[in-house]
């Protein structure tokens, strides 16, 4: 039990680390000379969500408001603002919903911790079961003990017969 738990802990830390790293990768990007290209604007808009629509990334949102927001990004880029500053501006003005995932701070840690913890809980249960099975499996297996269903169903019987035949021929 103990080593399993420790392994699990290490795994949790590892998973969390990966998740954090994924969050950070979208940080700074090189600034573009004026006027910023559509691609530079879209690169940032892609990471933001339209504040007034539901679940629509800003780079593909067709509404007039979104077009204006993209223009806003272009202006800010032209002023030399970094991607992080632009995102912060959007969060300050329109709320955390513009981010494509909430920042892992405060209560929002829950968003990132709960799935791995639950998954590991399931994994632990499974490994626990495996260990008991394995222990018994290491004892010599006698065919009769496996109960009434130990005779594999038809297709398996067929395949194993084939394999036996093949072996003989070799």
């Amino acid at each position: 039990m103990k080593p399993v738990a420790r392994k699990a802990l290490r795994f949790t830390v590892y998973v969390l680390f990966i998740l954090l790293a994924a969050l950070q990768t979208s940080a700074a990007r090189a600034q573009t000379p004026t006027p910023p290209s559509d691609d530079a604007v879209n690169a940032i808009a892609r990471e933001l969500f339209c504040p007034i629509c539901q679940n629509t990334p800003l780079d593909v949102c067709p509404t007039e408001a979104c077009r204006q927001w993209r223009e806003l990004i272009r202006q800010m880029l032209a002023e030399g603002k970094s991607e992080a500053e632009i995102k912060q501006f959007f969060v300050d003005n329109y709320g955390a919903r513009v981010l494509s995932a909430p920042p892992a701070e405060g209560i929002n840690w829950l968003a990132y911790i709960v799935p791995p913890v639950m998954f590991l809980g399931g994994a632990l249960l499974l490994f626990q079961a495996f260990r008991t099975w394995k222990r018994t499996a290491e004892e010599p297996a006698d065919g009769a003990a496996a109960g009434k269903r130990s005779a594999p169903a038809a297709d398996d019987e067929y395949v194993s017969r084939l394999e036996a035949e093949l072996k003989k021929r070799r």
């Binding site: 003005n93 329109y94 018994t136």
Partner: protein
């Protein structure tokens, strides 16, 4: 060990697991029930008190010399709160009517109009200049004010608050005429 390779014993679900499962299910259902309840109901109903909020005004706008307005300080006056956005086409239909109504009531000092610019790119001031809007206006930063009134704000929406700070009338969508606005305000002014 060999006996156990026959049919395993009948093992019911342990009590702790049962408690765990039922609690989990009930918590889940509880959250869904609350979410459903909230989705079904408007946050604020006509007849209920409006929670306090502070609106920071745009540059060039002021109320009683201050750069922000606090709803609580407006107690005793009839308050008209209009949510709009520069990208909102129907808002333009009613902009002139609202301003006309404001100019009508401003001298009396008993009615206050507040314009709240709902999640707008930086074109709010352009819009205000275009329609020559003079009553206090400010941005709805992070949607904090609109979320008091309606989680799914669909501008324009206008809320009328009486002298006691109670929400009395909700207008979803634009007004057709300045007369409509006046009728509601006069009704609230008539109360003491």
């Amino acid at each position: 060990m060999n006996e156990s390779t026959q049919i395993p014993p009948r093992r019911p679900v342990p009590v702790w697991a049962q408690i765990f499962i039922w609690t989990g299910l009930l918590v889940l259902l509880g959250f869904l029930a609350v979410a459903l309840f909230r989705a079904q109901q408007p946050i604020i109903k006509e007849g209920s008190a409006v929670p306090d909020f502070t609106l920071s005004l745009f540059d060039g706008y002021e109320y009683n010399g201050a750069e922000q307005v606090n709803l609580l300080e407006l107690r005793g006056k009839v308050v008209v709160i209009n949510f709009w956005a520069s990208w909102c086409v129907p808002c333009e239909e009613e902009a002139a009517d609202l301003e006309a109504a404001w100019r009508l009531y401003q001298p009396g000092g008993e009615v206050v109009f507040l314009g709240v610019d709902y999640l707008d790119p930086l074109n709010g001031l352009t819009y205000l200049t275009k329609f020559d809007i003079t009553y206090p206006n400010g941005p709805d930063t992070q949607g904090r004010i609109s979320s008091i009134f309606n989680r799914n704000m669909g501008v324009p929406e206008t809320y009328f608050i009486d002298r006691q700070g109670v929400l009395r009338y909700i207008q979803i969508g634009p007004f057709q005429s300045a007369g409509e606005i006046q009728a509601i305000i006069d009704w609230l002014l008539a109360e003491q």
